[in-house]
């Protein structure tokens, strides 16, 4: 878009177009740009805030009605996750180092000291796109999603 503007200004400098034409072309570029910007904003506004994190483990459809299978259905409110993450700020500094060390040992380079309330909202917002769907060799279906 910046190139188009430059071209218009060059054409104006070369007197290939009039000032009015240049103004009209630049206005047209502006309206196109604002239209493109507004589209993702509308999508974000339309996004429903997730309320629950769901974890389900369903048996193989062939054995679904059998009593001899395991089933899991867990629904965790997002507010509980939010409150849980906020609790990390109450962890004493010496314990935080231990937590960080344990996470590093597991290969997770994450510092719990960097957790801020605004990050929590961003994290929960990002969870709305989460969907894990795993089918085991036994035919069990594991689903993790938000609703």
């Amino acid at each position: 878009m910046a190139e188009n503007r430059k071209k218009i200004l060059e054409m104006l400098a070369d007197k290939k177009i009039s000032v009015d034409d240049a103004y009209r072309l630049l206005s047209a570029i502006d309206s196109t740009e604002s239209g493109q910007e507004s589209t993702p904003k509308t999508e974000t506004a339309g996004k429903v805030k997730p309320k629950y994190l769901r974890v389900t483990v369903l048996p193989d459809p062939e054995h679904e009605h059998s009593q001899n299978v395991d089933r899991v259905n867990v629904r965790v409110p997002m507010s509980l996750i939010r409150a849980g993450i906020k609790l990390t700020s109450l962890i004493p500094p010496e314990a935080r180092d231990k937590v960080n060390g344990a996470l590093r040992e597991k290969g997770i380079g994450f510092d719990v000291r960097n957790m801020k309330p605004e990050d929590i909202e961003e994290l929960i917002g990002a969870l709305s796109d989460l969907e894990v769907d795993v089918v085991s060799a036994k035919g069990e279906k594991v689903k993790v999603f938000v609703e």
Binding site: V72, N73, P77, S79, A83, K86, L87, L90, P92
Partner: protein, 92 residues
């Protein structure tokens, strides 16, 4: 902040016997308040002792955070059915 939950439904089913329980959580809140009022002098002394080390403030935050977690429990549902046992917990 969410409204505190009112009921907790617990159902545990074993191979031969099981039980179900509706816990009135709304009755726990006045009870917890009474316990808090009774224990408040001890809590206050503890907070004052711990204040110089910076843990007193944290202890106060823990009380608030615990209440927030309690309020956030509303909507929690755990339903696990095994081959011989099943556990169902629901907070409403």
């Amino acid at each position: 902040m969410n409204r505190p939950p009112t009921w907790m439904h617990i159902k545990i089913q074993g191979e031969h016997r099981g039980f179900g329980l509706w816990l009135p959580l709304f009755l726990l809140l006045p009870l917890a308040l009474v316990v808090l009022i009774i224990l408040s002098p001890l809590i206050l002394i503890g907070v004052i002792i711990l204040w110089p080390s910076g843990r007193g403030k944290r202890a106060l935050f823990v009380l608030r955070a615990a209440y927030q977690v309690f309020c956030s429990l509303r909507g929690l549902k755990i339903d696990i059915q095994g081959r011989h046992q099943s556990v169902y917990i629901s907070v409403v």
